[in-house]
Amino acid sequence: MRTRTPVKSGICLLGALIASLLAVPADAGQEDNSLVVAFAKPLTTVDRLYSIQREGLILSRLTDDGLFYVNPDTLEFEPLAAESYEWVNQTRLEVTVRDDVTFHDGSPMTADDVVYTYEWVLNDDADTSRGPVIQSWLESVEKVGPRTVRFNLRLPYPMALRDMAISIPVRKEGTYDGVEGRQNSAEDRPLNGIGPYRIKSFSAGREIVIERFDNYYQASPKANPAIDTMVFRVIPDQGTQQAELLSGGIDLMMDVPPDVADNISHLPGVRRKEGNDIRIGYITLDAGGYADPDSPFTNRKVRQAINYAINREEITRYLVRGSAEVIDFACHPRQFGCEADGPRYDYDPEKAKKLLAEAGYPDGFSFKLWAYREKIIAEAVVSNLKAIGLDVDLRFVKLNVFAKVRNDKDMGAFFASYGSGGTADASASTGVHFAESSARNYSGDPALADTVLAAERTIDTQERKRLYRQALNRIAEQAYWVPLFSYSQNYLLAPGLEFPVPKDGVPRFWQASWSEQ
């Protein structure tokens, strides 16, 4: 009888190992009607009340509903879990809640749940992420009818519906009882939302799995989503995301840089989609002389020269690309109130040099330009500024360092961007950057801050438009900013995946579906 030698056994074992290795199942795909999406950043909690991350907003639009939502077509705030609403006066809002909404645990949503949710947010001990913002305008909330809830505002606040739409999902009464008001146990405690999907599993830093909620109310614009199961996998590295997409491990990549999208979209098995983003890029100049009272930027002619010196058209066309557009004012053109007729600064380096000479700097001067993202754009700006004789030292740092120096008001000039939280209203851009208390406000212009504040203290839309026009014109006349461009969003998709690109840069995956091939 022949006995099997150790070598032969080893070969057999190796063969079996290779055979088992070759049987790697594909995770993502159309066959099981699932969708796998890559998140670049980890989500620390699935509870929107405790999350400030963009990924949290994307997820909450699937698992949670608020009283209002952002209409993806018009970007206006419309009722969702609310049936109707009425502004009784400038500081009193009455909302009638729907009677056909159920939580994921099967219990019906009531006005008591809505009151509980808002009272929780107003509670200092609850420590919710948006608590301080909501508390700044909301005084109290009370149930005034079987399905009617009254919101008593501290002051007129036109963005109340926005905050209710993007920050406050409805929670079941008693949800936070016994958890010390914090989200620590979020991983262990299942989220009981009212959205079209419910959480199936959540592993912080790894993945979130959600499945379609079959008892979702049919009257909702988000009803009957096509995908059964969605998986959000945390993959920080873009190269790894690309490999996962090519190997079928994921179905969709977000926030893809244009050059990467150019290269990858030519490969088989990948499709590119491009859409708008409400994010804008800009340069702030230290007009108020915070970093240096004798700064050249305190001189309006110098700030105007900088505006003329930067070739925004070419930077937008060749570096930002896609559907990006040059912007002339301190807001995104799609935002409410972003209408102005102040001066526009077309690229004119000769005029820039002339203005510098008139300002007393014929030979230019030296300064530091701070930046934390899109180094290639910052370098293009530096190149433009050097062409008019300025000696620019680019300080490219990480965001946490950038934020520290900016908040200390220690920057002469900085290149940054702002996404407005996906809000199509100038209060989220102009308002945030020129409010008196804002660390981003380097204008040193109290009159401008008053105008911006006034626009946030009335719900009269015409008056708000007038005030924002006045503010935007003032910013342009004084050249406090160099408004640069709006951004473009690139998505890479698996073939067969249908996904309407969002107008505000925040994807709504309930609209995704697989086409029949």
């Binding site: 290795l21 070759l22 790697v24 594909a26 980890p42 620390t44 909690t45 405790y50 400030i52 991350q53 420590d127 992420s129 948006r130 608590g131 301080p132 913002v133 700044s136 914090r182 989200q183 620590n184 912080a204 830093g205 790894r206 996998r233 945390v234 993959i235 920080p236 590295d237 190269g239 790894t240 490999a243 996962e244 090519l246 190997s247 079928g248 491990g249 990480k398 965001l399 946490n400 360092v401 934020a403 520290k404 908040n407 200390d408 702002y418 996404g419 407005s420 939280g421 945030v432 409010a435 208390s437 804002s438 660390a439």
Partner: protein, 305 residues
């Protein structure tokens, strides 16, 4: 020996404290944790609230000694970013890093020792040149590049292994190769040099005369002495892998301590960064201490002092 261990232990604590203070000072003066926690697009009210809530408005020295006092009592604090106890975070992430470190060290040993021994047995032959070329290549190739190449080859073109993650043993194969390859040059060269030295020594000539040949001569007689420097290097490499697999964990999207450290740094999560640095420093010092003790055990001359 006891005095030696005590001295090394105290040195480790001193190093850890110095590094932790330096890290804290850098974070405190170079970043704004409140803004980072709130997010770049956060309104000012939220940033101010976080600053007050976490006590970032207190003097830096008070904040540091608060943290140090709690740490000395075994309380590493709560992560600003994850809102979880740091100890829990470390417990969750450590298994991935430890598994990866041990697997990659095995890869290093399996590649470097045979290569080093082969090169030493036939110096200046094609085997020696092949081994040296392999070592030079492994040293020259950056981890992230090798990682991406392996992914493209073995996960995309030939889908044998998964691209990323850490759920099964398959997920550890490619990252272990990447991390293991980076240590091959040092271990291989030391093995070759050490073995060449030992093979030309008198006691090996005596052993040959006594009839020791082949693997018995190499493994039983020569390697015991040649192993001494290799043990130290392997300990250092293990320390590096336990604390420094940042790139590999990121490329392969593994939820280990290296990735946790990177995320904590970017999110100004000071308690987590401080605790990780303490752990990394202490692990490194303990491993080098362990290497010294093993060397002493292997070589009686070291024991004798």
């Amino acid at each position: 020996m006891f005095t030696y261990i005590l001295r090394r232990g105290l040195m480790a604590i001193l190093v850890a404290l110095t590094v932790s203070f330096g890290t804290f000072a850098l974070f405190h003066y170079a970043t704004d944790p409140a803004q980072t926690i709130a997010g770049e697009d956060a309104p000012q009210e939220m940033v101010d609230d976080i600053r007050e809530q976490y006590g970032f408005d207190r003097p830096a020295a008070v904040q540091y000694f608060d943290w140090l006092g709690s740490t000395l009592q075994g309380d590493f604090g709560e992560s600003y970013f994850w809102k979880q106890p740091v100890v829990q975070l470390i417990k969750d992430h450590a298994p991935v890093t430890i598994t990866l470190a041990l697997a990659s060290l095995s890869v290093t040993i399996l590649i470097a020792l045979p290569l080093g021994i082969s090169a030493a047995l036939k110096p200046n032959s094609w085997v020696d040149r092949f081994a040296l070329s392999t070592a030079v290549s492994a040293q020259a190739i950056p981890n992230f590049w090798l990682g991406l190449m392996l992914i493209i080859l073995f996960a995309v073109t030939f889908p044998i292994f998964p691209v990323s993650g850490d759920a099964t043993w398959r997920h550890f194969v490619l990252p272990s190769l990447v991390l293991g390859a980076s240590s091959v040059p040092a271990v291989m060269r030391l093995t070759r040099t050490g073995l060449l030295d030992v093979l030309s020594s008198d006691y090996i000539r005596t052993a040959r005369a006594k009839g020791f040949m082949g693997y018995r001569l190499i493994l039983q007689q020569a390697m015991r002495n040649a192993l001494l420097p290799i043990v130290s290097v392997l300990a250092v490499q293990l320390g590096n892998k336990l604390g420094g697999s940042v790139v590999t964990e990121s490329v392969f999207s593994m939820n280990g301590l290296g990735r946790l450290a990177v995320e904590s740094i970017f999110n100004s999560d000071i308690p987590t960064v401080q605790s990780l640095i303490l752990i990394f420093v202490l692990t490194f010092v303990l491993l080098t201490l362990a290497a010294d003790l093993i060397n002493a055990w292997l070589d009686p001359r070291i024991r004798m002092g």
